[in-house]
Every structure is written in structure tokens, then in C-alpha cells.
Amino acid sequence: MKFTQRTTHRPRFAWHAMLLATIYTCLMFTSFDIYAKDSSVKPTLAQKFSINASKTISRRLSGLERDCDGDEICERIIELCEDRAFCLELLRICLDDPELCEEILEEDECEVEGDGEECDEMRECDDDEEDCDDMRECDDDDEECDDMRECEEDEEDCDDIRECDEDDEDCDDMRECDEDDEDCDDMRECDEDEEDCDDIRECEEDQEDCEDMRECDEDEEDCEDIPECDENSEECEDIPECDENSEECEDIPECDENSEECEEAPECDESSEECEDAPECDESSEECEEAPECDESSEECEEAPECDESSEECEEAPECDENNEDCSDTPECNEEDEDCTETPDCDEENEEECEASVTEQPSGYVNPNPAADRTIMTVSTEAANDASRFLTHATFGGSYATISQVASIGPDMWLEQQFEQPVGYTMPFTQYLVNRVIRYEEENEDLNDEQLEAIYELIGDPERYWVDGWWTQVMTSPDMVRQRVAMALSEIFVVSANVEEIGANNYAMATYYDVLLENSFGNFRDLLKAVTLSPTMGFYLSHIHNAKADPTKGTFPDENYAREVMQLFSIGLYELNTDGTRKVDGSGNFIPTYGQEDIREFAKIFTGLSWDSCDPNAFGKMDIFELECEDDADTFTRQMKMYEEHHEPGVKSLLNGQVVPAGQSGMQDIDAAIDNLFNHPNVGPFIGKQLIQRLVKSNPSPDYISRVSAAFNGETGSARGDMKAVLRAILLDPEARRSPSEAATSDGRLREPFLRVVHLMRAFNATSSDNTFSDDGYEMAATLRQYVLSAPSVFNFYLPNYAPNGEIKDAGLVAPEFQITNASTIIDIKNVIYYSLETGQVLANSGALPAEKLDFTEELAIASDVDALLDRLDTVMTYGSMTSETKAIIKDTLESINDNETRVATAVYLIAISPDYAVAI
């Protein structure tokens, strides 16, 4: 990890806290203003996603003085913060590197005073300095303007300047930059052979990769603010700024076509086939549609020649011309200018410091999961539909590439391969983010709570890093089946982030989910015990610190966990047959599995558990911050331990006539109780049916349940409770595998609303520049009424036997997911989908981590053929189960759309909101 120690030996700036406060205030106001300007406009869901957090903060901070009262730095901040993305980056720089922060903020001063000493170290020239002459924006009557990068398109000289290759001397000063972008001066085009490049601070002359590091596609928010990277820096790996090996590089605009590194993103001319996505484009190049280098005849150029016209950021960032005053602040340096050489940027003499001044990149986290294999195998539609259906059951879903790969291997074989995948734990990324925020806190002790809190808003909500850990694994971990099964288990063994003592504790939540992941392919007994001993569960169902009876006080053990472990986690309320139907007694009544007396006995068993802490008095301390051991912040990562003195002594009776003898240790008691429950004949049908409901269908036939029970009971050759055997039985059962055309009208289930969102992201290859994913989830949880580990109670989001009024109830069927589907949510989810497709972004990611983007490359490739597109989407989204009527309606709509992107987005939207997709049959 490359968090430098530089702040320890650099001076702390007296104004640092004030400065940060100003930045975040700016940030809040700028984002708030977008919304506040026009209150007559109904805020869209997308807007709500983006501004929700800021809005509450800005209201809280409304008392803070925004007026700078003439303070130049303050004014400078406000100016810089007009660009929200840059403001965010500025904050990050100022947190990480106060000195660089100061340099940035004092640039203007330097320009005003001209010969000030501070200016010597600034990379920007003062415009009074001769050396600077060549470097800045010039008037069009200035001869030296020939060399200038920015040109008005009606200038003749421009023709030669715009596109140049490395032989053209004039080229060295050319670059593409927009004047609002501070970092622009760093981003000049430079070929490494060129002498003139020597002094360009962002580049070392011998750094081959340098040229790839400067230009950024301007519609990538993160990009514009990431000036500092050299190729030796590990942290640079993840930036959107590309190197040639990076898939994200498609959009690199500036490249010399002779440069080897440029292979994937050459400076385009019309003869270059590789030019497809390169925004720097010759105007005659047809591929340049989106972001051509403009000339006046190009219609697309109207607003912002350097910009993709769909990019909001670009609107305010025109190419400079001489009439544009804003352009005067973007000077350049050339090699004669000595002052320009002492820059904060790196050269090889300066490697150490250089390393230190490297700005931390979006996450700085290197996700060990590989990028998704996007290879598409050639398989039949039938096989693809079959695999897609299997993936809908067994995973969160996949793109067509994944589907085709599974189809080519076959679901059975692929499932066995999945069983061998290593566990994709959520903790590592969570831990990384926790460490980072701790570092921020330590380095910024002079900030008050509110200032820190505002910063948290920007670097990600520190209570929700476990969510980022979850998303990142769900989106990238190769153990797709395990990730999905753990989600299903989390809806049986429910804990909820709604209880803040655990929900706001990353260790508690990430560890709990990891326990589920770890045991998803193990044995149910181990799972049940691990859940029982989880301090997160202990907190949620209050059996942590559960003490033995105290006759003098008249207290008894807490019965909460004793009840739920039986009712919900193992055996259920009534004796079951192996096919899941309830047994009846001689009078035709259902037979309860346990009574109140049993609950009291089990309550005794679950006494004496508390933190695994070195604090000998840990028992009873609810708040981990009260524990006396300093490093106990991660206590939630360890199983609870037994405090014998608080454990109920004596004989206890279990179910089915078993007893635990007196004199055993507390943990022996727990083991005996877990065994007692685990061996109860109800577990197979009770847990098996619920897993079928989560993964496959709401109303499994008794035969299907029987087969799963048999697998649980060890009748398929595995040990009792073997989860792999259970999952094979569930996922490969003929009732699960039969095609939609063979399905009964009562088959299927309503997709869980939250999983619809996850599926969209996976089906359409949501990617982010650093392969991490981030969401605070509050908005989605409120909108969808579902989110990972966020059920309203231990009874999950819905009951397994919920039946909505109408045909389903009348037919004696259940449809649990309908319980959270009402007049609001049934529309809200469609709007979530709409905005996800409009923006390409689904998650309300924090400012700290790069946003994800949906990627429709696979669909766009076939979009000109409506039938092919629809068949493909039918496979990916509804595995061939779309009705012909729905298909015809959508086809009719798509045929009137000529633009392929709109066509794909519309097709995906209409399918995603259709009953065909909402219900997986």
C-alpha cells in the first residue's frame, strides 16, 4: 500500500482545516445549487441519487459562512469548486498533500504578483515572463500562435495544427485542453522523442507510457482531475487515464499513430481503422461521430469541440479562442524557461518525492479479481437460453459472454467448477476503505466533527464500506454461485443493518456476510454454529451478553435467539414431512415442533456468550468502544466466546427427549444444541424449501422438496447437511431445469427488486475504471424496500408464505416477493431502471470511488438487426421466456428508432419493466 508518510515530515498548514472547510462547503453548495435553482422542476430519481447526501449536509452547514470576505484563497477555492469533480479531487489532494494543495491554491496569487518568489516553484508561468510567451493562449494575430494548441477553427493555421504527427515541430505545443481544467497545462501532447517535451512536467522524456497518461476522455469525471501519475506509480494503475493494456483505453484521445503504445487509441485519421473510439478525430472520419475534433462544418461541434456532446461537463468548457478571457490562465512552459523545471512533478532525480506527491487515485485498491472474461462462445440459442436460466437461479446473472461460456461447458460441469472457486470475501476491500478513513482521521485531527463528517460524505460513507465490499465481490468475484447463495442465506439467517450498532460497523456486516460466504458450500451444521457464534447475530438477536438466571435479581435468560434459531434458522414451527408438507396428529392438527418450555431450555444454552476480547470484563459491555483493549475495534471479526461464569449451569433438555448433562462447558452445551437442531428431520425440507424459493421458484412441488430433503439428509452420497449436495439438488433438479415452455402457469417467482438491479449490472457488464463498485444504498433501500442485509426485521423482507390477494392466493399459492411490491415500489423500480439506463450508472457511488458504467458493447454490435437484438436480449434477460406478444410490441417500437444506442437502451428498458422480466418463470 502506498499511502506515503509525507505528511509526517512536512509542515502542517495553519489554514489547513479552514481550507478544507471552505472546500467542502463549496462542494455542498455547488451540488445543492443545481437542484435549488429551479424548484419547479420535479427532481428526478437520478438527481435524487446524486444529490441526496449533499443536500442534507448542505442544509446542516447552511450556517457556515460562504462569503470569503476578500480572502483570495477562499475565492480561489470557490472558483475551482465550480467544477464539482475537480472540487472533489482538490479535497482529496488537500487531504493527502497539504503542500501540493497550497501550491494549487496559490497559483493565482503568483500570477497576480508576477515576480514573487513563490512563483519560481510554480509550474505555471507568469504571463509577464518572456519565456512564457510561447506558452500561452495567443491572439490570433500573434505569429507564435501557429504553435498554439488551441485554434479557432476558422483560422487557416488551424488546419495544420489540429492534427499533427510527431514530425511536425509545431506539434509540440499543441494539445487539447479546455481552459477550465487546471490540469490542462499538464496534459500537453508530447512525443517522448521530442526535446521540447523535456520540460513538460507531467512527463519524463524517457517514459514511454507518458503519453498515455495525460489525455483523458472528458466525459469521465474522474479523469479530468487526475493530473499526476507516472508509470512507476502503482496507484496509477487504476486510473481512468489509460495505458495501452487497459481495456478502458478505448477512449484515449491523443495518440500518435506511430507510437507503439498507441495501438489501441491512435490519433485518428480517416485511414486508421483503429480509430473507432478515439475522440481526437479527423472530421472526415466517420467513426468520429461522438467526439470529433471539430471544424466549423461539423454540426456536432457546436457547443464544445473537444467534448462529447452528451457530456455535461463539456458544456462549460469550450476550446479557447482569443475572445475567451478564461483562456488566459492556462500558460505553458517551454524548455527555455528554467522556472518551469522545478515543478512538483516527477522526474527521475526526484523519484522519492515524486512518489510522495502522487495523488491518491480513485481507490488505490487493486482488486485481485480478474476483469470479466468477455469471450463469446458460439452456442445454440437453445443452449444459451438454458444456461441463462440456470444462471438466473444459481447466480446474480451474467452477460451474454458468461452465458455462452456456461452453455459451452454445460451447467452441471460449470457448477462443479464453481464449487472449487476460492471464497470471494467482502472484507478485504472493506478493510482497505476502513484503513483509509482511519488514516484521514489521524492526519486531520484538527478538523471538527462536522468537517470530518462532510469529508466522509465525499470519500464515501464510512459506515457503508461493507456495502462497497459486497458490491465489488458481487460484480467481480469469480465465485458467482457462492455469492448468490450467500445472499439467499442472508434472507434466512437475517441480520439487518437497520440496527445501527451493527449496521454502522463495517467489521460486523462484512464479517457476517463472509461467514455466510464461507459456509455456503460447506456443511449446514457449521453454518448454523457459525451464525450462532457471530457477534453480529448476537447483537441482532440479543444473545450476546445473555446471562444465566439470577434468582436474587429475579432475571432469566433472554429467549430471543432460542426462539428464532428454531423458528427461522432450522426447524420451523411445525413438524414437516420430507416433502415440506406439515404432519398432522390423530385429530388432524398440525404438530408444533417446540413449546415455550423448550424455548426456555434453549435460552439457557445460549447464555454466557460475549466478545472475544482481551478485556476480562468484556461480558455485558454492549459498546465495543467500552472494551479496554485498544485493538478491539475489530472484535466483530471474531466469534463470540464463552464466559463460563455467566453460562447457565445444570442439566438442560433439548428437543426429542435429548438432554445435555450438567457439568459441561458452555460451548459443549451449544454444540449439543446445534447437533440437536441440525439432526431434526425438519431441517432438510424447512431450509431446502426456502432456498428453492430464493433461488428457483416460489411454489416448488412436494416431489422437488423431497429430492432436496433427501440430498440434505445424506441420501445422495454426501454427508448430512452438505450444502453442495443440497445446491446440486436445487439447481439441477428437473423442475428447475425444465424450459419455460414446459413450465406450468403456477411456476416462477417475482424477481426480488434488489436483485433486478444487480442483474442489470451484471447482464450489461457494468464496469468501473478500477474494478471496484460503490453504493451507500440508502436511496435504493428506501426506493425498492430491499437491500443487502437490510431487512426490517428477522422475518426478512417478506414471509415465505405470503400470498397476495387475487389469483395467486385463490390458487393456494404463495408469492413472497409481492409483499414488498406496492403502488409506489412497482413504479419506483421502473424509474430506477429508467435512470440507470439513461445515465449508464446504477449505483449512488460515493465521490471517492469511480462510478460504474453499463456497457452495451455486445448488444450494440448486433443492434442494427432488431430481431437479432431482441433474441439476444430475450436470452440474456428472460432466457427465452418472453412472450411473442411482448416481443412483437417491443419490436414494433424498436423499428422506429434509428439510433442504435437509443434502440438498445429502449429495448433493455422495455424488457426490464415488462411482466415477462419481472417474473422469472
Binding site: K55, L452, F625, L750, Y778, S824, T906
Partner: protein, 461 residues
């Protein structure tokens, strides 16, 4: 520890805040002076639950004004204490030997109290059973889960279940029993202006989430977007009029169509109401209040005999900046509640609508130097024409540190359980005494419901 404290505050912003962004766009209806003409159904009743999310410092809302007890208050609250001469006088507000007054921002509520339309209930809170501070100290008290914790306390004030984490709220449980009285079964009797909540989660009923007067219901975004010669809406309409064989798809299709119809019906009903003379402020809370008033005005059109409303005003977790923030929020609360009552009066329905406040807890009486921390029992308000207003109910506690109710730092053990508070409201709302314990399962530890028994507290007439 810093981080831990932050956690608690951060949570609040979100927990009370669901979907409320919708309401920002609302603007007060001005100008139209036509008297609202709702033909009131004399049997109609509405309960408006106002949740002050975050734990309102209600011992700075209702404050002793007589010298002795003001001094006790000032000694305990130190830098948080309001100036004695700024407190608003309440006519006849005597309780437990104290004369009580209001925070200076609550001028509208002062008038409502003095005109008999507002009552206070003092030191009410979550309790599993009657207990004492001694029992608390020696560990024998049965206490609510997660006492002093936002998440559990804000939940228990909605579920009225203090000893386990319930999936249903007492408003939802009332709706389970009462919803059948409404002729309209297409729209829930539980209306939320603040989105998802626990109060209105029933076993068989659910809340209906509404937006602002300008955008009353959820609508499909971008549906009108033109695509070639069609719009998304065209395609959606066609898909949702298709026939499906699969029962789940049929059910989903029907639910969507029913929902769309319900939303259209609701919007049209609201559109059909006359504008109020009453002017509502443009902030989020008053916009919600306006939405409540308009919905009540439309009750006849909507076919509603009983309705509950859930409204949240968040931001009360004043660990710091208490004095200024409280001023801001109470001004907002005062304006919103006053406007609501005024609009209901316009409708001539004052006796049929009762508004009450809830909050996670009150706060420590002692200061942390900038604000106050999480407490327990606090003061609630009940507003409406059926309220026996002008009085303070319950027992206004001693504010001296170390008094018998002080569990530490001026965290006061409640002397009235929220079960009793809610029972009185439920009885007024029409819940039969025989089923009161189904609505409030913890009530029987404090009050015995019976046909001839007097009301638990007596603040409703």
C-alpha cells in the same frame, strides 16, 4: 469514539429521510381563496403521526417558567438553557407544581394551546413494564431493546413493541382492523408523505406513498419520451394490456395496472380539491403538511372513512449546535403544524383530525458543551379539535440532576409509556377496547382496556 458518535448522527439523516427529496419541489398554493368545499363525512377520522426523527430535545420545547423550577432547569441545562424572559406563556399550563412555557419559536403552537387545541404529554417514552431507576441500576429492570439507540428507539416509537424487533407498526395494525371501513380498497388508508416507514406496516396492509401537491404520486419517468413514431408509454400500455398465461405475470401486470389507476385516481381527487386560504411555507415539512391537508380535503372523493398519515421532520439529533438548530427546526415545526390545523379548520373538520408527535427519545438534560446526547422520556404534543387542549398531561418531571427519575446526565425514565399515549389515540380513532391489545401488545402492562374503563390518560375528549 469520535467515529462512533458520528455513526449515531449519520444514521438519523438517513433513517428519517426516505424519499423525502420528492417533497422539495412543493410550493405553497397561493391566491385562490375559494373556501375548501369538502363535504365532510361526519364519521371520518384521521390520525397524523409526526415523527421528529433524531431525538428532539423536548425539554427545551416545554420549559418551567416559575422561578424555582426555571432555576432548576437553568442549573441543569447550563449553556443550553433558554432565557426565562423569552419563554412563551401558556395559559393554565400547570403540572406537578410547575408553570410551563414554550420555546420562543413556537408562537403558533402557543396560540393553539391557549385556544384549547393543543395539549402536551410530559415524560412519555418506551417502557417494557413499569420500573424504577433502582431496578435499572441493579440490573433487574426489563428494558426496551436498544435503549438510547436511534435505530431501536425510533423503531419502537412506530411499532409500539419495545422488547423485540417487530415487523409491523401500530398504525399498520390499526389499518389491518379498520381499513375495511373505507369504501375505497384501491388506495391504502395509510398514507405516507415520507415514504417507507414502520408505523404503517401492517400484517395485511401497507402504506401508500404520496409526493407533493404538484406531484402527488409516483409516475413513470421518461414515459412520454418519443421514440420514432411511438412513445415509451405506448409500448408500456400495450405490454400491460397483454394477456399472460403465467399466474405471477398476470398478478404483476394487474398490480401495476391497479397501481397506475390508483395513482391517477389519487392525483385527480387531489386536483379536485379547492385551494386553502391557509398559506403553507415552502419547506419540506410544510409541504408535507399541505399534502396531508389536501388528502384529507379529498377524503370524500377518495372514499375514505379512516386514514393515518405519516410525516417525518428529521434533523433533531443535536449533539452540537443545539441552540441554533432547535430554533430553526422548531420554527419549521411550528409553522407546519399551525398551517395544518388552520387548513383543517377551514375544512370544518377540526374535530375529526388529530395530530400527534413522536420522537426517538428526548435528550440528556446536561450539556456536552455544544449540545445534548441521547435520552429517554420526553414531551409530546397532541393537536386537534378533539384534543382536550390547554393542558399538560402526564407528569412534568423534576429537571434536577440526581432526582429519582434521573438515570444519569438527566436521562429521565419515562413516567408514561407510549403504549398508554397511543392507546388513547387508538380508542379515539375507533379501535374497540376489545382489540386494543392486538394493536398495542405491551399495553396491558400499564393499562387495562375495557369498555367501561376511563381513557388511559384523558387528553382526548
Amino acid at each position: 469514539m469520535k467515529h462512533n458518535q458520528l455513526s449515531r448522527r449519520r444514521f438519523l439523516r438517513h433513517s428519517g429521510h426516505a424519499l423525502s427529496a420528492m417533497t422539495l419541489a412543493g410550493t405553497a398554493q397561493l391566491g385562490a381563496m375559494a373556501k375548501a368545499s369538502a363535504q365532510s363525512n361526519s364519521e371520518y377520522k384521521a390520525l397524523v403521526c409526526v415523527l421528529l426523527a433524531g431525538g428532539a430535545d423536548s425539554f427545551n420545547m416545554l420549559v418551567p417558567t416559575d422561578n424555582t423550577h426555571y432555576q432548576e432547569y437553568a442549573n441543569t441545562r447550563t449553556d443550553l438553557a433558554l432565557a426565562q424572559n423569552q419563554l412563551l406563556a401558556l395559559n393554565g399550563a400547570q403540572n406537578n407544581g410547575r408553570t410551563l412555557g414554550l420555546h420562543p419559536a413556537m408562537t403558533g403552537l402557543q396560540s393553539l394551546f391557549n385556544s384549547g387545541n393543543l395539549a402536551f404529554l410530559s415524560n412519555v417514552g418506551t417502557l417494557v413494564q413499569p420500573t424504577t431507576t433502582q431496578a435499572l441500576a441493579n440490573g433487574t429492570a426489563k428494558l426496551p431493546l436498544g435503549l438510547y439507540s436511534h435505530s431501536d428507539q425510533i423503531s419502537q416509537w412506530q411499532t409500539a413493541v419495545p422488547d423485540f424487533r417487530s415487523g409491523t407498526g401500530w398504525g399498520g395494525r390499526m389499518a389491518d382492523i379498520l381499513a375495511s371501513q373505507n369504501s375505497n380498497q384501491r388506495i391504502s388508508m395509510s398514507i405516507s408523505t415520507s415514504g417507507a416507514n414502520e408505523f404503517q406496516a401492517g400484517r395485511a396492509t401497507d402504506y401508500y406513498s404520496v409526493g407533493t401537491p404538484d406531484f402527488p404520486t409516483a409516475t413513470l419517468e421518461g414515459a412520454a419520451q418519443s421514440l420514432g413514431n411511438k412513445s415509451r408509454q405506448d409500448a408500456i400500455d400495450q405490454m400491460y394490456s397483454s394477456e399472460y398465461n403465467n399466474l405471477f405475470r398476470r398478478a404483476y401486470r394487474k398490480l401495476f395496472n391497479d397501481s397506475s389507476a390508483a395513482n391517477a385516481e389519487f392525483s385527480a381527487a387531489l386536483q379536485g380539491t379547492s385551494n386553502f386560504t391557509t398559506q403553507f411555507a415552502g419547506d419540506e415539512f410544510s409541504t408535507q403538511m399541505q399534502m396531508v391537508a389536501k388528502t384529507i380535503a379529498a377524503h370524500q372523493t377518495l372514499g375514505m372513512q379512516r386514514q393515518t398519515f405519516f410525516v417525518t421532520l428529521g434533523g433533531w439529533d443535536h449533539h452540537d449546535e443545539l441552540t441554533t438548530s432547535l430554533q430553526t427546526l422548531l420554527t419549521m415545526l411550528d409553522a407546519g403544524l399551525s398551517s395544518l390545523q388552520q387548513a383543517i379548520n377551514e375544512l370544518g373538520m377540526a374535530n375529526q383530525v388529530t395530530t400527534f408527535t413522536t420522537s426517538d427519545f428526548a435528550r440528556t438534560l446536561s450539556s456536552n458543551g455544544r449540545g445534548s446526547d441521547h435520552g429517554w422520556g420526553g414531551n409530546a404534543m397532541i393537536m386537534g379539535g378533539s384534543v382536550r387542549g390547554g393542558s399538560v398531561y402526564g407528569t412534568y418531571p423534576s429537571l434536577a440532576l440526581g432526582n429519582p427519575l434521573d438515570t444519569g446526565r438527566g436521562v429521565l425514565m419515562p413516567t408514561t409509556s407510549l403504549d398508554e399515549y397511543f392507546a388513547e389515540l387508538a380508542l379515539w380513532f375507533g379501535v374497540a377496547p376489545s382489540v386494543l391489545n392486538d394493536i398495542l401488545p405491551n399495553l396491558n402492562r400499564f393499562y387495562s382496556a375495557g369498555t367501561n374503563n376511563p381513557a388511559p390518560i384523558g387528553f382526548m375528549s
